[in-house]
């Protein structure tokens, strides 16, 4: 389940792009979930672990991916850090839920991300309560952002 601490959270990785640049491993990029996320969010195709084809920028390296995708990959692959998920736009929300579908994932959100009109389960850690839809999430988490 996705566990979110809303608002300021000391000790997290705020600058996710720098952290990604210095820690990512080649195999993270070619993993099926990363390939899907890069295709959906950045509209780009993974050619190899060092080469991604962007429709706008041409051939780019993994460090040139969007801040949102880099943060999603970090959240998926690095279990011992908490990342600033406000680097992710609303188009990353479904991927956050998918990454957390089979495991406990903890992230920090400093804005109210829109998780869509459907049902979900998000633990609002500040209140230790679970939100099941956006109405519940806005009422539970809004005061922290």
């Amino acid at each position: 389940m996705l566990n979110v601490w809303f608002g300021d959270m000391p000790g997290i990785i705020y600058d996710t792009s720098t952290y990604f640049k210095h820690t990512y491993r080649d195999q993270w990029i070619t993993e099926p979930l990363s390939v899907e996320m890069i295709r959906d969010v950045d509209k780009s195709e993974v050619v190899s672990s060092n080469l991604i084809q962007s429709p706008v920028l041409g051939a780019i390296s993994p460090v040139q991916l969007s801040g949102g995708v880099k943060t999603l990959i970090l959240i998926n692959k690095v279990r011992d850090q908490v990342f600033n998920a406000s680097k992710c736009g609303d188009n990353c929300a479904k991927w956050l839920l998918r990454i957390a579908a089979g495991k406990k994932v903890v992230v920090n959100l400093r804005h109210l991300m829109n998780f869509g009109d459907g049902e979900f389960k998000i633990m609002v850690m500040n209140k230790r309560k679970i939100a099941h839809n956006m109405r519940e999430l806005v009422l539970l988490a809004g005061e922290y952002v």
């Binding site: 969010v41 969007s66 995708v69 736009g89 956006m134 009422l139 005061e143």
Partner: protein, 325 residues
């Protein structure tokens, strides 16, 4: 620096064009839309000018401020420029950053989804980047509807409570306006209090009047609430209460039309952190010593006379509570 400034920047692959209207502009929106690419282009041009291979056209210098620990030293040396700030810069949400940019003559373009409660930015200056092939432009995230109403979802039915963000002249004005009617006037005490009030009273039909000129940081959470309770919450955001008075035609002030038509030209951001600060000062100064004398702390009876108050609320009246007697 004041006025509007157009920035055009491109390299061989991407092209951006946008206009900056106020001292603080926020760029948010989906991932993968080109925010980092824009920042990198400006950064390259700021370092190497034409030798970067980037073309930039603007009547002011464009400079980037990174997520470095010496940002205060760098910022202190920047004058009369457009400053683009990296979304990895954690300091942008701090009081220290707000204090550092207050009273500067720069414009700031900040890439950040986090609400910056220390900064008085307008709901009108929050953008996302829209792309058509290689051409990128800014588009407002919150688009104003008729009578300064903003809505993520359409609602129905007239509200029975009017909520103001302030507890002084604006609140007193609406209290007078609805005196003797069934409409309840309430004050949230501040713009940050609006969300808390709505959260506690989301089962009531509420018409919120707040100062759009400085409501930017509150916009996301308040609009998400409005989206969830469209029949209960109506959000009305004129620039500010004093702007409504000036716009109403109630006062005959030489040059007022020009100021209202082009606030960007009239407002010096070094002196006024937000347009709200300017319009309050302007109204107080222009009416001082007259029978229309305006003060923020207590509303003058001139403005509460029915004939006059009617002209002020006419600008936002379409969705206001009916006030049945």
């Amino acid at each position: 620096m004041n006025g509007k400034h157009i920035v055009k920047i491109n390299d061989q692959r991407v092209r951006y064009s946008f206009e900056l209207v106020r001292n603080i502009t926020l760029v948010q929106g989906d991932s993968g839309t080109g925010k980092t690419t824009l920042f990198d282009l400006v950064s390259a041009y700021a370092r190497l000018k034409e030798r970067s291979g980037v073309f930039l056209s603007c009547d002011k210098p464009c400079i980037t401020l990174h997520a470095d620990t010496d940002w205060q030293t760098r910022l202190a040396a920047i004058r009369d420029s457009i400053v683009f700030i990296d979304e990895d810069a954690e300091y942008i949400a701090s009081y220290e950053f707000a204090a550092a940019i207050r009273h500067t003559d720069n414009y700031y373009v900040i890439f950040c989804r986090e609400p910056l409660h220390e900064l008085p930015y307008s709901v009108e200056e929050i953008y996302e980047i829209k792309t058509s092939k290689r051409f990128h432009m800014f588009r407002k995230i919150y688009r104003r509807q008729k009578d300064y109403v903003y809505a993520k979802a359409e609602g129905h039915g007239k509200p029975s409570v009017l909520l103001t963000e302030d507890s002084h002249a604006g609140y007193q004005f609406y209290q007078h306006y609805y005196d003797g009617t069934s409409v309840i006037c309430a004050s949230a005490g501040s713009n940050t209090g609006v969300y808390s009030w709505l959260q506690k009273h989301h089962d009531e039909k509420v018409f919120v009047v707040a100062d759009g000129a400085a409501f930017g940081a509150e916009m996301k959470r308040v609009m998400e609430l409005q989206h969830q309770f469209p029949d209960k919450i109506t959000i009305c955001l004129p620039e500010c209460f004093e702007w409504l008075i000036l716009k109403s035609g109630l006062l005959d002030i030489p040059g007022l039309g020009e100021v209202l038509d082009n606030p960007s030209d009239a407002i010096d951001p070094q002196r006024y952190f937000s347009w709200e600060n300017f319009f309050v000062d302007y109204l107080v100064q222009q009416t001082a010593g007259t029978h229309t004398s305006y003060t923020k702390s207590k509303i003058h009876s001139f403005y509460t006379i029915r004939e006059n108050s009617g002209k002020i609320v006419a600008l936002i009246s379409a969705n206001m509570p009916l006030g049945n007697e």
